[in-house]
Symmetry: C2
Subunit: 591 residues, 2 copies
């Protein structure tokens, strides 16, 4: 009898190994209960279909690469006036791609997901409610932007190609269908139409990235026209296309409102595309995946914001936020005013830098504090396979590169430039602090994301095992080699209860207090960092460009090179902030 169970054991492991290494991970050690009773995942029989996951993925990745590069070529070519490509070439391509993607999404919703045994399991880490909530919020704002855009282009439809009016309409349709699609399907681990679904998801991802590229470029071009020192000359590289041709002036009041409106709403459209991309990527990683339901616990979404108030973090954060918005408004008004003088610009730049230096210093200190608290926190690391988290970490590290690059170019320019005035000194400190803050915050967030949620951890933390004796024995007796009560299965009796002397109870209370203090600190920290990141997202997203208003880098690198650096790197920097907000929210909930 025992013999047979051993054979069975070895065979299951063999079956396990038929699947890709990725799937092997998901059958963690806690899948196999110690007395050899194996819980079969519901769809183990599918493993034969999925002969080689990597092979199935290569094709869809190749499709995505090719489409992204084509979009990249058209978008970058369309951005320059002297290149014979126009923005409507990009719009034309995007419209077609969006229509194909819409078709696939409808097919997925009405056919693929309705098939028998199509979705044997769901990934509870994917598409958490705040991500989907954020997606819907940004989707609504994108729809408003599309209305504005349609209105703007309709103002002079007599001298435009029809595709320019078609594009926002198709985009609105795309946004509605995609938001619905992601709302219902974000957690799916699909097990039918594997290759088609992979390609469809990669197509969706590519479409979102292409829309993002197009929006970012459009915005940069718009910004560049107001910042370029020699916009009137026909300088190569600096000769960005103007958003409207001279024969079609946007001079009515309504048209101006539409135009300003849609440029103000661009940041939300940009964030929408990136949120959707991240969710689609996780769906793609989950295609054909089998999930161990033990490991796949959900974080209990109890926002205890109102039960225990985390006062300090929120107040300090809101203070920073309000100040930040005030600084931004003053800055924008001053810099964009008609009668700006050198002295006034210097004044607002000084204000802007000082605010940022204070904010970044505080954030760095809080991040370092949080990391130190984590050092003393002996909670176990959560090592279960979790594509959402892997992506989060990769995006945090990757997106930070954008701001890093800008900072390094700034540092080199300020160090090498000769007139060492106050603005330069401030700029240098700002750039250095920017690097430090990104580094420390990343370390803090990555540590936080890899912790077990506290709710579960309370019970099995090895540090507290003498205090929580009862729970510990209950949970772990079955896994000890020599069970306490002789029979492993009957050890649900409470042998640890008698040994709790008064002094131990005191100690328990002390440890509890210490733990609460730690938890409070982590929660306060993450809330504070969250609000600061929102502030630092608002500032560049709504137009603050000290990189151009401060002339040091502009004269050091020349307009063309510096504009290229900022225009390519800043979108990643802005995305970093929004992504950090999402990650910090997760850290807050898990602390």
């Amino acid at each position: 009898m025992t013999e047979v169970s051993i054979w069975k054991d070895s065979e299951i492991r063999r079956e396990d190994s038929v699947m890709g290494s990725g799937q092997k991970d998901s059958f963690g050690p806690d899948q196999l209960s110690p007395i050899g009773q194996h819980k079969f995942p519901p769809a183990l029989t599918h493993s034969s279909k999925e002969v080689w996951k990597k092979g199935g993925r290569v094709f869809s990745v190749l499709l995505a690469i090719n489409l992204v590069l084509l979009a990249c070529t058209l978008v970058s070519g369309g951005a320059f006036q002297e290149v014979a490509l126009h923005d409507y070439d990009v719009f034309f391509m995007l419209t077609i791609v969006m229509l194909i993607t819409i078709t696939w999404m409808l097919f997925y919703i009405f056919s693929t997901s309705k098939r028998q045994a199509a979705i044997p399991c769901k990934d509870n880490h994917a598409g958490p409610i705040w991500l989907r909530g954020g997606l819907v919020l940004f989707a609504v704002l994108t729809l408003v932007m599309d209305i504005f855009k349609t209105g703007y282009y309709s103002s002079f439809y007599h001298c435009l190609t029809v595709i320019k009016i078609m594009y926002p309409i198709v985009q609105a349709l795309f946004v509605v269908i995609q938001t619905y699609f992601l709302w219902v399907a974000a957690k799916d681990c699909i097990h039918v139409h594997l290759d088609l679904t992979r390609c469809g998801l990669m197509l969706t991802l590519t479409t979102n990235l292409a829309v993002w590229m197009s929006a970012v470029t459009d915005e940069s071009v718009h910004k560049a026209q107001s910042k370029n020192p020699n916009a009137s000359t026909t300088h190569r590289m600096a000769g960005f296309r103007s958003s409207t041709s001279d024969s079609c002036p946007c001079d009515t009041n309504l048209c101006q409102i539409f135009q300003n409106g849609y440029f103000w709403l661009y940041p939300f459209n940009i964030e929408y595309s990136l949120f959707a991309s991240a969710m689609v990527y996780v769906m793609w990683k989950n295609v054909g995946r089998l999930i161990d339901h033990h490991a796949n616990h959900v974080h209990q979404l109890k926002f205890r914001l109102f039960k225990r108030t985390y006062f300090l973090g929120i107040v300090a954060g809101f203070l920073i936020m309000v100040t930040g918005i005030g600084v931004l408004i003053v800055y924008e008004v001053q810099v964009n005013s008609k009668d700006k003088s050198e002295a006034k610009t210097d004044q607002v730049l000084t204000m802007y830098y000082i605010f940022n230096i204070v904010c970044l210093s505080l954030m760095s200190l809080v991040s370092i504090g949080g990391s130190i608290v984590y050092r003393f926190d002996k909670r176990d690391m959560d090592r279960h396979k979790n594509p959402t988290r892997t992506l989060d970490v990769a995006l945090l590290m990757g997106a930070a590169l954008g701001q890093y690059a800008i900072s390094y170019y700034s540092i080199v320019a300020t160090v090498a430039s000769k007139p060492r005035d106050t603005i330069n000194a401030l700029n240098l400190s700002y750039s250095l602090l920017m690097i430090a803050q990104h580094t420390f915050q990343n370390i803090f967030v990555i540590e936080g994301l890899h912790r077990q949620p506290i709710e579960k951890e309370d019970k099995v933390n090895p540090q507290e095992k003498d205090i929580y004796g009862l729970t510990f024995v209950n949970m772990n007796a079955v896994s000890l080699r020599v069970p306490e009560s002789g029979n492993a299965l009957s050890s649900t009796a409470s042998p640890g209860l008698e040994i709790q002397t008064p002094s131990e109870v005191m100690q328990a209370v002390k440890v509890r207090t210490k733990m609460n203090w730690r938890r409070t600190f982590l929660k306060e920290s993450s809330l504070f960092l969250l609000l600061c990141n929102v502030t630092l997202w608002i500032m560049p997203a709504f137009g603050a460009r000290p990189q151009f208003d401060n002339k040091t880098e502009l004269t050091f690198y020349g307009y063309a090179m510096w504009a290229a650096i900022v225009d390519i790197c800043l979108p990643f920097g802005i995305f970093y902030r929004m992504h950090a907000v999402a990650s910090l929210l997760e850290v807050y909930i898990m602390s």
Copy 2:
């Protein structure tokens, strides 16, 4: 007794889970032999030290990111004449970084690796002999280049900063020590000084990447001076720094030889840096890793080139190679000649494109053929953790992006440009075929790299199990639930021998022939592709730039934009070829 063994079992799994998910992988199912005798890896006790691998890695990655970005800033700033950065700023930084790296490597060789239990296991996949051989070859050529460079700079040492002469000398020292270091340590899975080693390796990686960037930029600047249509004007962006200032002319004969010599040897230095980077990255991935010795089989390095001659592939490949070199020489001579005319340039461009189109078409066909053969080949996929292979695949896909991007820009330009002449048509086909060839070759190589080597697979291929009855039973009886001969351990007797009737023997011979045919085809294909890739590496590495000689893209995008695209993307394209050669060699050996 059996009870205890079960408990032990569950405990080992628990211990397993203490280590990072990466390490969990390395204990594959074949680690646990079916009768429950567990082979402990030699250094399982180290797992407590390595609390959380990801955390230990973050710091070294952050270090690397910062250093790479700083190098990138200096190198890119130094490339432009009007930016107040000079190449000696870059040299100064590189010299310091190289000296630090040398110190660390010496420390590693003489202290870290000598510690007790420092290297409990080695990764046999890492640093295969041909990679190390290639490294030594490129190292020798780099040393020659350094001698030329020292000679060149010494020719006018009176008007140069001392760092320019120091740099090649320090580089030579660095190359010697690094080559020795990689030769002896490439396979190490180090288990002491974890954090220091990670940082040291990341520093080494960064240094190599910085040297690569500097070399690529230097070469691009050199090329740009000969290709720029308006080099004499003081055009922004086009104003690359000249390699020697006017006050220090390189007019002696010796100096000219030195200069030309070192520019001809640059491609080898570039490849050296990339080879070293790849090997260092694998070492970094292997820090603190525990390896299951069962999974970690070595490919038997039997070059059966001389036992069974694979004639067709080699002959066809050499034919392509010789033709390619001929085409390159004619092309270079024509394009660089003083009295070149429009017609003559068109003629050599036509020749160049036709050769490439033929070569790429053949390569695509062979790759498709190989992939089809793999479809019918039922060999098992090799799914063991193997950082070397993961890196290989990532690099193949990543480096192909460079050529993809150039091709897409070319396609858009040729399609949108008006005069549709022969050159344009050829350029379009060339770009399209380039994309197709990269795609098909990547699919072929990735499939090939993931196969089990044939030597091992011959025996357990499930397709042939009725023919190789004897072997199959021997190898697998122990893992069947109900062993054929009742007692699993005594089934080494040969129960399958009697059932081999003559018709079955005939069938066995047939299948053998079929398998041999398949193997021959795969070997021929990979050899042919290998030689073709060498040819396509030689051409751009030694200076063929049809992208600039053919004026379509130059006029469509403007010099600045097109030069930026080609100068950034082409180094990756060139690296792709060399990397594909290494991967194809591995596919050849494994087929």
